[in-house]
Symmetry: C2
Subunit: 167 residues, 2 copies
DNA sequence: TATTGTTATACTCTATAACTATA
DNA sequence: TATAGTTATAGAGTATAACAATA
């Protein structure tokens, strides 16, 4: 047990209720000006909004990205997919297992390197991705609205620069 | 079993090696212009760089943010901390268990609402957070460099707008 | 020797639901 | 009835290491 509580608190001392912070106004301190912190908040908000729009049922942004990478690069290997999405091959395997089980992708042995598989979308995968892409496009139009058309290009560039410089 | 592979592939067909995508140049398709996609890539890159800088040992960005919120709002309750960091109370509990086990925070019953705890940093918590803040500041200076001083204010504002509009 | 993919395993983060105790 | 906090539990996502097949 690392912490025991529930019946009796670990510390019997009572706090004076003097320094209780006001209602919901929480101070952020240095966090308020950190790019990294706001990057996380924005990403989380975007993630949740995407999930909500798609219906939350199944396909998360990462799966959507994988499907898109497969459609755009038909026949790519799992290793290449892992590198492109920044995931280890052992992470790619169960993700593709899931997509294959749903009938959205196929894996075929390649003739020229028999260690690897060529990954492709099935017709159903194409259809599901097309529908998903409509949701994603709507989601990103909402983001465009928030950011402002005139700011989008530079905003995207800064995000790309961060990923490139720290990746 | 949802997928059986390893010895023999599920499909005996061989792919022609014609459409194999070139080397490492993977096409992104519509992803290339999605704000949501690049938000995720930038956030992941920032996260990894932060972890690397701190030493990867222990404190992740989310823990760092919690410690900072506690320092900036001494005596706040776990529920308030959860709301401020966008996490359920059942997520806050084990996180604070961990921080308490490490001697970085204390939980004291409040006098005016005996259901809740007032959370505060210990002197060691203050010291650890101070050190962590140095790393975080260095990390964010690196981000500032990437983004450019002249762009930072607007960049931060756009991130804040996204979090506010979609949160 | 190195790489592709799978498996076993483990760890972290997250939430929902049920519970106790307070309010 | 509602809220603060804990616990049990479950699910998703991730990685490391070891392995078989192939290069």
């Amino acid at each position: 047990m690392t912490s025991r509580r529930g019946g009796e608190p670990h510390s019997p001392r009572m706090a004076a209720d003097v320094e209780e912070p006001a209602g919901e106004a929480v101070r952020l301190g240095p966090l308020a000006d950190y790019i990294g912190y706001h990057l996380r908040l924005a990403q989380e908000a975007s993630f949740r909004a995407f999930a909500q729009r798609v219906g939350d049922e199944d396909l998360k942004p990462q799966r959507f990205a994988m499907l898109t990478l497969i459609r755009e690069n038909p026949g790519l290997t799992q290793a290449a997919l892992g590198r492109a999405s920044g995931r280890d091959k052992s992470t790619v395997t169960p993700a593709l297992d899931d997509l294959e089980r749903r009938g959205l992708i196929t894996r075929e042995r390649t003739a020229r390197d028999r260690r690897s598989y060529a990954v492709r979308l099935t017709p159903e995968g194409e259809a599901v991705l097309a529908e998903l892409t409509r949701h994603a496009a709507a989601h990103d139009r909402a983001l465009d609205e928030i950011v402002g058309r005139e700011n989008k290009a530079e905003f995207l560039n800064l995000l790309r620069r961060i990923a490139a410089a720290l990746g």
